[in-house]
């Protein structure tokens, strides 16, 4: 499934400019040390963390997109870092569980 399809189907809001790419799975984590060992390239990363370290980890793994849940929005310098690294950032008011359920309903696991 493409990023645009995920965005349209779940109602997530973009926080930066992004390029279309294919999403191939989901990883949920709020620990950067866990992300670098668990997330895979092309995954949607669902998280509450909004700090720069999250972007440094997401970039290393080459995640497909990051979705901040519960309406969390990173600071401008974090968005700037993600944009430079070509990492699409989105946010949703839904909590982690509800957003993960939406993805599961779309067949993304």
């Amino acid at each position: 499934m493409k990023i645009s399809e995920v965005a349209n189907s779940t109602g997530v809001q973009a926080l930066n400019e992004w390029e279309e790419s294919e999403i191939n799975g989901v990883y949920i984590s709020d620990m950067v040390s866990d992300i670098i060992t668990g997330a895979k390239a092309g995954n949607i990363l669902i998280t509450l963390q909004t700090h720069k370290s999250l972007i440094a980890a997401a970039n290393l793994v080459d995640v497909g997109m990051v979705v901040f849940v519960r309406g969390k929005k990173p600071a401008d310098d974090v968005v700037e870092l993600a944009t430079k690294a070509c990492i699409p950032l989105f946010y949703t008011e839904a909590d982690t569980w509800k957003f993960a359920m939406k993805l599961a309903e779309l067949g993304i696991r």
């Binding site: 950067v32 040390s33 390239a41 092309g42 972007i55 440094a56 970039n59 290393l60 080459d62 690294a85």
Partner: protein, 173 residues
């Protein structure tokens, strides 16, 4: 030299704490990985050094193993990875960041003794394997990860960057 075009996987993943200590005497810093349930905070003397606890961060360590030839690279000397944002033209890493541009991201692999008084740093085999591992996984066209040892920084303790560490998760206020 091996003819294998390695296909790396993480191996021996272990969770613990990255403990950072500072010497009150010389101002040096050192770090180590602790798998104890509670990271040590004791002060102690070691030769001319008087080490005191500066911080602990939840962290993870791993090695790399080739799926094809079973070659194993021990990354026990890697204390952490730092996304460099260095802009110092007098620093080799800063120049590399500038050259890498938008498509390349430079990560500094941090060793235990960032002062490099001990004359040791991350092994060349470790740096090579880390570069191959992270770049093999990338899907975005043109994107590149460049991992360099911290000995390349002109002054790593003053280097600008973002360390991949779970700071603050175990602190009480």
């Amino acid at each position: 030299m091996s003819a294998c075009v390695h296909r790396w996987s993480m191996a021996g993943i272990r969770s613990g704490y990255l403990v950072i200590e500072g010497c009150h005497h010389c101002g040096g810093r050192c770090s180590f990985f602790s798998t104890e349930p509670t990271p040590p905070i004791d002060e102690y003397r070691q030769g001319d050094h008087f080490w005191g606890h500066l911080g602990s961060y939840q962290a993870v360590r791993f090695d790399l193993t080739c799926d094809l030839c079973a070659m194993h690279v021990d990354l026990g000397d890697v204390m952490g990875l730092m996304l460099s944002t260095c802009e110092d033209s007098g620093c080799e890493v800063g120049r590399l960041v500038r050259r890498a541009g938008r498509s390349g991201s430079v990560y500094v692999a941090l060793c235990a003794d960032t002062t490099h008084v001990s004359k040791t740093c991350i092994s060349e085999a470790g740096i090579l394997a880390l570069n191959q591992y992270f770049n093999q996984r990338i899907r975005a066209p043109g994107k590149r990860i460049i991992v360099v040892p911290c000995r390349m920084c002109s002054r790593v303790d003053n280097c600008r960057g973002i360390v991949i560490a779970d700071a603050g998760l175990t602190d009480f206020y």
